[in-house]
Symmetry: C2
Subunit: 258 residues, 2 copies
């Protein structure tokens, strides 16, 4: 077994040397280690994705055309799920240390789309964000009520509620048309026992996500809630006022909500 | 030439298939495309790095032990420089659109360490953040005054000044011991014509970076400056109050300043 292991290791080294020689020949420099096999443009796309996730690029309407395959591979190849799960682990580690008072005022705020439930199946038809936002098509998708849970977030949600937190789901989805279907979708996917689902009312139409969500949080804080954590896939979920004691940015390279 | 190109392409495909077969055999699943050749643990390390860069992990004292080689490869393999340059491009695109008033009050704030000048040479001896922070050793390094410019940021700095902005360099380095050497280091590396270099005074010792930098920015705003942009490698540069119209997070997976 040791000999076979040694052979495999040698074979890997030789193959790595060959691939290094072949791939490095046309760029004139060594590609970063995670880029071997990913195509020359992926270095740039990794930079784009990191910059987008850290809110250095704003606003952006679509994934850059040359990054379509990189972003698609990120979403479908496993790393997106790893990244989500990693953030969830951070959230649970933090939540475990919070001294829950038992007065029912310890709160968490979670966004809905691509935080609790996933639109990846929809965005597949939009080449994972390479096509511009299509409000009518997205509304049809949302009306189906078939968004699957993001599994790691669903588990986290259940643990927060078990831990005695009040969980508020806050979404920019429009209340008038999407309240019932969103609520049913969430329930079917295991999001039950949350404190309140807050959608955007007709009066709040046209306000930015930052302004709308700030206002929601302001009202909760005025009601006495302590916002321990705030989780979303968009920086507009996490900026503004009353953002909470900690904010957690989930990955989403497919779209940008201003 | 076409035939040779075709042969090279076929050879690449075959090699990619071989490497896919060898590497995917022991994990039991396909590694993400950027992970082929990067070792099994790099998926986890990419998740850690993304989470650290988006401020989802805090505080952290060292790079996780199993990520040492991944982070080292990121810093030395080219991607770190690509990522820096990409953010700089975003900054310059944004700066170009700012209506500079000409009253001398349009300001930018830049951090110093690993924003203007680089400590990568020092952190090499600390395995790129795998060893814990060593205040005495870092001070000796800083006292040498030999930090090289981060080239893309130096170019950006010059363009901001050309564009009519007042640039303030704000650093947590201690004023008493490091003022002169830092100033000389910056000058030698091309950082000249900034408006002011602001270090941490003896009175501000022990305050958090967020509190210290907020106070500095508050005073600038009170003096009438409009902070258009705020650039740093740490979230503590970019959080708190008076953060500016836009903040830009430069990558730094080597250390965390609370």
């Amino acid at each position: 077994m040791i000999l076979i292991g040694e052979m495999v290791r040698r074979a890997r080294e030789i193959i790595a040397m060959i691939i290094f020689a072949v791939f490095s020949s046309d760029a004139g420099m060594t590609p970063p280690y995670w880029n071997r096999g990913g195509g020359a443009s992926c270095s740039h796309c990794l930079s784009w994705r990191l910059a987008a996730e850290t809110n250095n690029v704003q606003p952006w309407r679509t994934v850059p055309a040359h990054c379509c395959s990189c972003v698609g591979a990120y979403i479908t190849g496993g790393q997106y799920q790893y990244d989500l799960r990693f953030v969830v682990e951070q959230i649970l580690t933090y939540a475990d240390e919070i001294p829950v008072a038992g007065d029912g005022l310890d709160a968490w705020i979670l966004d809905v789309d691509d935080t609790c439930i996933s639109n990846v199946d929809y965005y597949k038809s939009k080449r994972y964000g390479c096509e511009p936002y299509d409000p009518a098509a997205f509304r049809s998708w949302a009306m189906e009520g078939e968004c699957p849970a993001i599994q790691s977030v669903a588990e986290m949600f259940a643990k927060l509620i078990e831990g005695g937190f009040k969980v508020f789901l806050v979404t920019g989805r429009d209340e008038e048309n999407l309240c019932q279907v969103t609520s049913e979708n969430l329930h079917r996917e295991g999001f039950v026992d949350y404190e309140r689902l807050i959608l955007r009312s007709a009066a709040e139409k046209g306000r930015s996500a930052v302004a709308f969500k700030t206002e929601v949080r302001r009202r909760l804080v005025e009601q006495g809630y302590r916002i321990w954590g705030n989780v979303g896939d968009q920086w507009s979920d996490l900026r503004g006022e009353f953002v909470g004691n900690r904010t957690f940015k989930l990955p989403n390279p497919m779209y940008f909500v201003p």
